[in-house]
C-alpha cells in the first residue's frame, strides 16, 4: 500500500465522522417537527401531498396499523414494478426496443428493488427500458430507503415514549424522509456526479468506432439521477451491469470517493439522529463506534487478503477483477463499504477478491447488515442486536435487563430471536438446497470451495438485502430468481415486522430513570460487548459454512491451489 492509500482511508473516515453530526442533527430536526432549512423550500409540497393522498399527518397509529400501512405500500410498489417490466415493450421511453422481461426475473427484480436489496439477476442496459429504470426502479430506490427510515423512526418512538401504543404515522415518516432527506441530497449528489462526467440523457444507444477500428454500441440513459440515490439510499442497483466499475457510472477518482462516502452517509448520520432522539448523543456515538470498529476490522483483514503474498500469485497484489482506474485500495474499500452497508453497488468484481477479502464481504452481510447497514435497516438491525446484548449481559448487573430505561422482557427477546432466526434460516437452508441440487449447481461457473462461496454469497446477499453478487454465479434462472426473491423478502420483512413489534411493545412500557445501578449502553465496555455479541452470535451460526468456503479456499491458496 502507498501512503496515498492510507491518506485516502483516513480522509474517508474523517469526512464521514465530520458529516455524521451535521446531517444527523438536520434529520433530527426534520423528524421531530422542528424548524429546518428545507421547510420554507419544500414545506408547501408536504402539505400538498397529504391533501392529495388524503392522509392526516397528525393522526398516529399503533404498531400493527403502522406495519399494515408499510406492507400495503410495499406490496403496491411490488405489483407496479412487476407489471411495468412485464409490459415494458408496450410502454414509452424504450429507445433500445428491449423486450418484455420474463415473469420470474420480473418478480425477482421487483422484490429486490422494493426491499432496498437491488439484487440484479439481469444486466441493466440489455434488459430494462428507461421507463422501467426511472418510474419503476429509481422510484423504488427512494421509497425503499424511506421505508427503512420510517421503521427506525417508529423504533425510536417506541423507545422514547412511555405507556402508549402509538408509534407514529407511516405516511408522514415516508413523505418527510423522501422530501427533506433523500430528494435534496440526491439532487445535489446527482449534479456533482454529472459535473464529474456521469451521463444523464434520454438518447438512444450510440454506435461508435473504437480506436482499434472495432464497432461498439455505447449504452446511454439517465444514469446520474439513479446513481445518486442508488448510493445514498444504499440500494446499489446499477444503471449498467458493471455498476460503479462502469466509466459512465463512476468516471473519476473523486466521483469514486464520493460514491463510497454516499453509501455510509445516511446510515452513519442516523446514529447521531438516534442519539439525539433518545436524549443522549453518547448513545448514538456508541453505536457509531461499534459500526466504525467493525468496519475497520473488516477493511484491515480485506486489505491484508489483497496485498499479502501468496504462493499462487507471488508478491503481486491481486489485480484480477479490479478497476485499474481506481486501484486495489479503492476497490477493497468500496467492497467493504458496500457489503457493510447493504448497498450492493460495486466498483470491482467481488468474485475475484482474494478468499479472505471475499470472506470479509460475506461476513459483513452475514452479521445482518448492521455495520452502518442499509438506510434505516442497519440501525434497526443494530437495535435488535443491542436488545440481545442487553438481555444476555444486562442480567450480569443484577437487574432485569433494560435498554434506555425500557425493561427487556420475553416479547422483545422473542422478536429479536425471530429476526435473527429468519435471516439464518434463509441463508443456511437455501445455500444447503442450492449446493446439493442440480438446478442450484447448474448456475456455477467455478468449482471447489469458490463455487460454494458463490452460492453462499448469493443467499447471504439476498438475506442481508445487499444485492451485490459473486458474479461467477448465473442467477437469472427460474430456481435462483424465485428462491433468491423469497430469501430477499424474508430478510427484509422478517426483520422489519419484529422490529416494529418491539417498538410497539416498548412504547407501552414505563421508563426506569437511570442510576448507578443501570446497565450503561454508552461506554466502551458496552461497545466491546456489543461487538462481541455481534461477532459471536453471527460467527457461531456461520462458522461451519465459512470454513467450507472462503477459509478452506484461503488455506488451499496458501498451499498453491486456486480456483
Amino acid at each position: 500500500m502507498t501512503p496515498q492509500d492510507f491518506i485516502q482511508i483516513i480522509l474517508f473516515i474523517a469526512v464521514l465522522t465530520g458529516l455524521t453530526p451535521i446531517l444527523g442533527s438536520y434529520m433530527y430536526k426534520v423528524f421531530t417537527g422542528k424548524k429546518h432549512v428545507m421547510l420554507p423550500v419544500l414545506g408547501w409540497l408536504e402539505g400538498l401531498i397529504y391533501r392529495f393522498v388524503g392522509a392526516d399527518p397528525v393522526e398516529e397509529t399503533n404498531w400493527k396499523s403502522y406495519t399494515f400501512s408499510l406492507l400495503m405500500f410495499n406490496f403496491i410498489g411490488f405489483v407496479f414494478v412487476f407489471l411495468i417490466q412485464l409490459f415494458q415493450a408496450y410502454l414509452p421511453l424504450n429507445p433500445a426496443n428491449l423486450p418484455n422481461v420474463s415473469w420470474h426475473s420480473a418478480i425477482n427484480t421487483s422484490v429486490s428493488f422494493v426491499t432496498n436489496t437491488n439484487w440484479q439477476g439481469y444486466a441493466g442496459e440489455t434488459t430494462m427500458s428507461y421507463f422501467v429504470q426511472m418510474i419503476g426502479l429509481t422510484v423504488q430506490n427512494f421509497v425503499s430507503a424511506a421505508t427503512g427510515i420510517a421503521v427506525i423512526l417508529a423504533v425510536i418512538r417506541g423507545i422514547t415514549r412511555k405507556s402508549t401504543d402509538i408509534i407514529g404515522n407511516f405516511w408522514t415518516d415516508l413523505t418527510r424522509s423522501i422530501l427533506y432527506v433523500l430528494l435534496p441530497l440526491s439532487i445535489m449528489f446527482a449534479i456533482v456526479l454529472v459535473g464529474q462526467g456521469v451521463i444523464q440523457n434520454f438518447k438512444t444507444y450510440e454506435p461508435v468506432q473504437t480506436l482499434q477500428g472495432g464497432h461498439q454500441v455505447l449504452p446511454m440513459g439517465p444514469a446520474a439521477s439513479q446513481i445518486a440515490i442508488k448510493q445514498l439510499g444504499t440500494n446499489g442497483g446499477g444503471f449498467f451491469n458493471a455498476n460503479s466499475a462502469h466509466p459512465f457510472e463512476n468516471p473519476t477518482p473523486f466521483s469514486n470517493f464520493l460514491q463510497i462516502l454516499a453509501i455510509f452517509l445516511i446510515p452513519a448520520s442516523l446514529t447521531y439522529m438516534y442519539g439525539k432522539m433518545v436524549g443522549s448523543a453518547r448513545q448514538g456515538w456508541a453505536i457509531f463506534s461499534v459500526m466504525l470498529i467493525l468496519f475497520l476490522a473488516g477493511l484491515c483483514l480485506s486489505l491484508y487478503g489483497e496485498y499479502s503474498t501468496n504462493p499462487v500469485f507471488g508478491h503481486l497484489p491481486l489485480m484480477e477483477g479490479k478497476e485499474t482506474r481506481f486501484g486495489i485500495t479503492n476497490s477493497v474499500l468500496f467492497s467493504v463499504v458496500t457489503t457493510n452497508a447493504s448497498c450492493g453497488a460495486v466498483n470491482a468484481m467481488h468474485d475475484s477478491l482474494s478468499p479472505l477479502s471475499g470472506m470479509v464481504a460475506i461476513i459483513n452481510m452475514m452479521l445482518g447488515e448492521v455495520i452502518f447497514g442499509g438506510v434505516g435497516a442497519g440501525l434497526y438491525g443494530m437495535v435488535i442486536f443491542i436488545i440481545l446484548t442487553v438481555f444476555i449481559a444486562g442480567l450480569m448487573v443484577g437487574r432485569t435487563p433494560e435498554y434506555l430505561g425500557k425493561k427487556i422482557g420475553a416479547f422483545e427477546v422473542q422478536m429479536a430471536i425471530v429476526a435473527n432466526l429468519t435471516t439464518s434460516v434463509a441463508i443456511l437452508v437455501f445455500t444447503a438446497w442450492a449446493s446439493v441440487s442440480s438446478y442450484g449447481l447448474a448456475g456455477l461457473h467455478n468449482t471447489g470451495p469458490h463455487g460454494f462461496s458463490e452460492i453462499l454469497y448469493a443467499y447471504t446477499s439476498a438475506a442481508g438485502n445487499n444485492g451485490s453478487a459473486f458474479a461467477g454465479l448465473n442467477a437469472n434462472t427460474l430456481f435462483y430468481n424465485l428462491t433468491l426473491g423469497f430469501v430477499i423478502l424474508a430478510g427484509r420483512f422478517g426483520v422489519i415486522i419484529p422490529a416494529l413489534a418491539i417498538a410497539g411493545s416498548l412504547a407501552g412500557k414505563n421508563i426506569t430513570p437511570p442510576s448507578s445501578g443501570t446497565f450503561r449502553t454508552d461506554n466502551w465496555l458496552f461497545i466491546g460487548l456489543l461487538i462481541g455479541v455481534i461477532l459471536i452470535v453471527g460467527g457461531l451460526t456461520y462458522f461451519p459454512s465459512l470454513s467450507l468456503g472462503p477459509v478452506v479456499e484461503h488455506l488451499l491458496m496458501n498451499n498453491g491451489i486456486s480456483f
Binding site: G394, L395, R399, G409, E412, L555
Partner: protein
Amino acid sequence: MSTKLNTSLFNKKIFIQAAKDSVIKLNPAVLIKNPVIFIVAIGSFLTTIIVTAGMIQGNFSSFNFQIAIWLWFTVLFANFAEAIAEGRGKAQAESLRNNRTQTKARKMTGKLEVSTFATGLKKGDIVVCEAGDVIPSDGEVIEGIASVDESAITGESAPVIRESGGDRSAVTGGTKVISDQIFIRITTEPGNTFIDHIIELVEGAKRQKTPNEIALSILLSGLSIIFLLAVATLPAFFRYSLTASGLPPSQNLTIPVLIALLVCLIPTTIGGLLSAIGISGMDRLIQRNVIATSGRAIEAAGDVDVLLLDKTGTITLGNRMATDFIPAEGVTVEELADAAQISSLSDETPEGRSIVILAKEKFGIRGREVHQLNATFIHFTAQSRMSGVDLKGDDGTAYKIRKGSSEAIRSFVQSNNGFYPQKIQDIVIELARQGATPLVVAVDKKVLGVVHLKDIVKGGIKQRFAELRKMGIKTIMITGDNALTAAAIAAEAGVDDFMAEATPEGKLRRIREEQAKGHLVGMIGDGTNDAPALAQADIGIAMNTGTQAAREAGNMVDLDSNPTKLIEVVEVGKQLLMTRGSLTTFSIANDVAKYFAIIPAIAIALYSRGNGMGPLAALNIMNLGSPQSAILSAVIFNAFIIILLVPLALKGVRYRPVSANAALSRNLLIFGLGGLISPFIGIKLIDLLINL
C-alpha cells in the same frame, strides 16, 4: 421447625436422593419442560438406537457408543443439578411436615367448646387456645392476650405477644400458646395455611417460571434452533465439498457426529442449570427466613431501586437506649441511677439492659447479686405498661420501685397517695418532642426522675446505605416523628430522603409517585394500615409479627420480622439475576472453543491431496490427538462443565455491592473471558487423558 437445617451442599442424603431423581427425571413429560435438555435427550436416544442397530448388525462402533454414553450423562447431569436444588427444599418441607402434628382444635360453637381436628376447621370458625395448646390454623386473635412460641416457623425461641386488636393480632397455625387464653377467628381454609404455603414453596411443587426465566428460555430455545439449523445444513455443505474434493458421498458426516456437534453448540450449560438457579434463589431467601409468594417477587427484588424503610428497627435500633438520667427536684442523679438500675436488673429487654449499662458506665454502679437482694421482680405486661422490683430493706420495710410510661407511673404514684410533679411532666413532654422516649422512675409515692431513652442509629447502617447508593438504590426513611427529629436521624443515618409524620395514606401516595417516575419500590411493613402500601409496592415484605391483612398484602413474609431484611432480599434478587446472566454468557462463550475442536476434526479429509490431511487441519489450534478424540473431548467437557458449575448455580455468583458498571466488568471478565478460554484448556486436558 427451624428452617436453619443442615442443608449443606452435599449432604449425603440429599445427594443420594438427587442421584435417584435425576434418573426419574428422564421421563420425557418432565424433560420437555426444558427444551435445551430435551434436545440432548432426543440426541442421546437416537445415538443409542444407532449404536444398538450397529451392534445387532455386527459392526459395533465404540466411538458412537462413547458418544451415546456421554450424551446421556449430559442429560443426567442437568437433571441432577435440578434435583439437588429441589432436594434441599424437599428436606426442609419434610421437617416441616414432621413437626406438624395432627393438631386437635377446641372449636367454639356458640358458648360450647367442641374438640375437632385442625384440618376440619373452616374460615370464620372460632377456636380457643390456652397455655400449652398448639394453634390449629392461621387466624386472628379476637379476644384476649397471650404469649406465643413461634419457634416452629421462625426458629426464634423467645415468645411473642399476640393480642386482639392492633397490629399484633395475627397467629400462625403450628405455633404454641405458652400463657393465657385467646380466642381466635380462623382466617384461612384448610390446606391453604401459611405452613402449607411454605411447604409448597420449598418443595417447588407449584414453581412457575418467572418472567425473566421465560425470556431467557426463549433466548436459549432460539439459539438452539439456530444451531440446529447450522448443524442440519452441514451434511449438504459437506456433500458439495466431498464431491469437490473427489471423495465419495459415503464419507459424509454420521448422525452421532452431527448430534455431538449440536449438543456441544446448544447452550446446555445454562439450559441444564437454569431451574437449579431459580430454585436455589428461593432457597437462599428461605435460609434468610423470608418466604416469597412467588419467584417473580425475588426477581422484582433485584430491580427495586427505591426502598421505603421504617425508621424504627431498620435505621435505628428497634429498642431505644438509655442515654441520660434526669433526676426530679430534691433527688440526686445517683439515687435515680441506683433505683433505675435495681429495677432493671432482671429486665431482659434491651431498654432495661441499656439502663444497667448506663448506670455502670456513668456512676460505676455494679451489678448486684439478685438473690441476695431478697427482691421480687415485676415484669412488664401489656396492661400495666411498667416494670420494677419489690424490695425488703435491711430494716425490714418493704418498698416498690417502678419504671414505665409517664401515665402508668402517674397512676402508680397516685394510687400510693403520692404526688406527680409538674416539672417531671415538662421533662417528659420535652423529651417526647425531641423524638425520644421518657421513662419515669418512682419509689412508692415518690417520683425520682426520668430516664432518657434515645433512638440509636444502627452501627454500620450508614455504610450500608452508601453501598445501596452505589448500586443505584435510593433509600427513603419513613417515620412518624416530626420533621425536625426525622431530619436529624436521616442525616445521621445517611438516607437519601425521609418522610416525616408519615401516615399510611402518605406512604401509599409516595409509592405511587415513585412508580409513576418509573421506579420500582420496595417496602417492609407490619400493620393493617400498611396493607395498602404493601400491596402497591413492587416488593412488599410483611413482618411475621404483623397482621393477617399485612401478610396477605405483601408478596413476601419475613419470619424474623427484621426490617433490615429488605436490603438482604434485594441482594438475593440481584444475585439470582447475576448468576443467570453470568452462566448464560459463559455457556455461549464456550461454543467458540468447541467449534475449534470439532470443525477441523470432521473436515480433516476435505480437499486433502492423498495424505488424508486436508487444509482445514490448520484450524486444529489445540492440536488435539485425533478427530475422534477431539469430538469426544468436546462432548465430555460439555457434560462435565454442568456438574462443575452446580455449586456455583446453587450458591450464586459472588455478590458485591458495587455499581452496575463494576459488576458487569467483573462478571464479564470471569464468565465472558473465562468462558472463552476455559474450554480450550478443558478440552485439551480431556483429549490428553483420552489419548494416554
